[in-house]
Amino acid sequence: MVARTTIRTLIDQHLHAIDWSILIAYMLGMMAIGGFLVTRISGFKQYFLADGALTTPLLVCTLVSTYYELDVTFAVSEQGYYYGLVSWFWLSRPYYLCIIIGALLLAPRLKKFDCITLPDLLEQRYGKATRIAGALACFVYSLPITALAGMTIMFTMLGWDKYEALLVSMGICAAYTAMGGLWADAISDTIQFVLMCVALAIAIPIALKWVGGFESFSVLPAEHMTATGGLRWGIILAWSVGALTIFVEPAFYQRIFAAKDSRSVIYAMLIGILLWAAYDWGVTVVGMIARVAVEKGLLDADLEGKKALMVVCMKTLPMGLRGLFLGGVLAAAMSSTDTYSLLASGNLVYDIYRPLRKKPLTDQQLIWLTRIGIFGVLIFASLMSLLFHRITDAWVFMSGALASVVLVPALGAIFGRPPQLAGWLSASSGLVVYAAYHIVVALMGEFDEDYESMVLRIGAFEAWREYAVLFALPVSAAGFGVGSLLGRRAP
């Protein structure tokens, strides 16, 4: 007889005072970092780019933990639970390739530009209109919707009052980020980085032992152990294309501009790939362990994939380590929330409001407006997070929007001197096609229960919602080509 396993009962039965102490100490530590740094910030560049002083170890920690939102963590373990190793091979691995290319080709070139943000770069090459279009796409992408949705799911799973818990964690995130800017963000990321990595490193062997080691994986469906997991190639391609967002990922740009030199970025990214790959692999394996546990009757048969990681770790970790693990999971969410709320606020204040204003803003005004913006962004993003059914849906939508609007013009600006018209046509055509595709599929399509996604079927042709970027990106590239031919080249 298998006892019904909910995380709530696991928490009630197993979370001890020492676990709670670890969680509270972690939260207080984050606030202390913000409080320590607030008196040391004097200019906007120091606030938003840490004065361009970030070195390799700090960059490793902040890059790795920032990229790892809860949505990525839950989504990768969810895919591991449902489809097996394909999650690592096609959801995660394409990113490593793009990061290597980004480190070796993009970082050294970007360091030569005198920019604070990606829209700065777009304006230098294409003018103010493309800057604003790019800033809007960056703003949509940077809204910490997925991080907050991940936190909401986590709090719901834990049986906590999700509104109270979200308010506390958002408040702490906003407070230390608003106080210390990128310095507080990056330094808190290092604590979060070590928490999330070590917690997973401890959880994997314990969970493996619990299900009976690797031999027990023989109960899994055969597709779980293959690189494609029996998925459609269209879906796999859509997952992989998401990796292209690395080339326009605002957090990567911010950290490249904030790095001491290009060598520090290259080393940090190459070291980071090892950690990303290990973390992705570990989370995928834990998802598969949950599936093994279900097949063996150790967990309920109706376990949802998105809960796989939490259930397995709460079920198997000993006292004290549960607090460490929860702190690690919370850290994964907070490290992204702080970074992206700072970026989204910067998009609004520095990239959109400042250039549209006639009277220039002082550094102190920029800092204070960005601080206030962080709180506004978090409130707006938490409302937006209610609109998406699955975290993956929000992530696919946001990354698709960024890739469709900014990818081609940004790469064009970095590697060439295209005319202004090329950037504008590329950004605007990508935006129009991306929005139109989503509207058509939403209005004329149907919901597919098996894939839990919208699809528009026309005869044998199936237009899945996830394919939007596959249509918008070529149009954006074509717009760039047309603009390059027709536009007046910069001297």
């Binding site: 040391r40 840490a50 002083a53 700090l58 001491k260 973390y279």
Partner: protein
């Protein structure tokens, strides 16, 4: 392959991450902003 990849991941995430963190701590004092009164830019 899955077995050795998993143990490699555990080593990278455990001792590897702690090593990077220690590197960061050693580096921190050198790179922290000095504060408004200490003549930072």
């Amino acid at each position: 392959m899955m077995e050795w990849a998993t143990w490699l991941a555990v080593i990278i995430l455990g001792p590897g991450a702690v090593a990077v963190f220690i590197w960061f701590l050693v580096d921190l004092k050198r790179i922290l902003p000095k504060g408004k009164d200490a003549g930072s830019d």
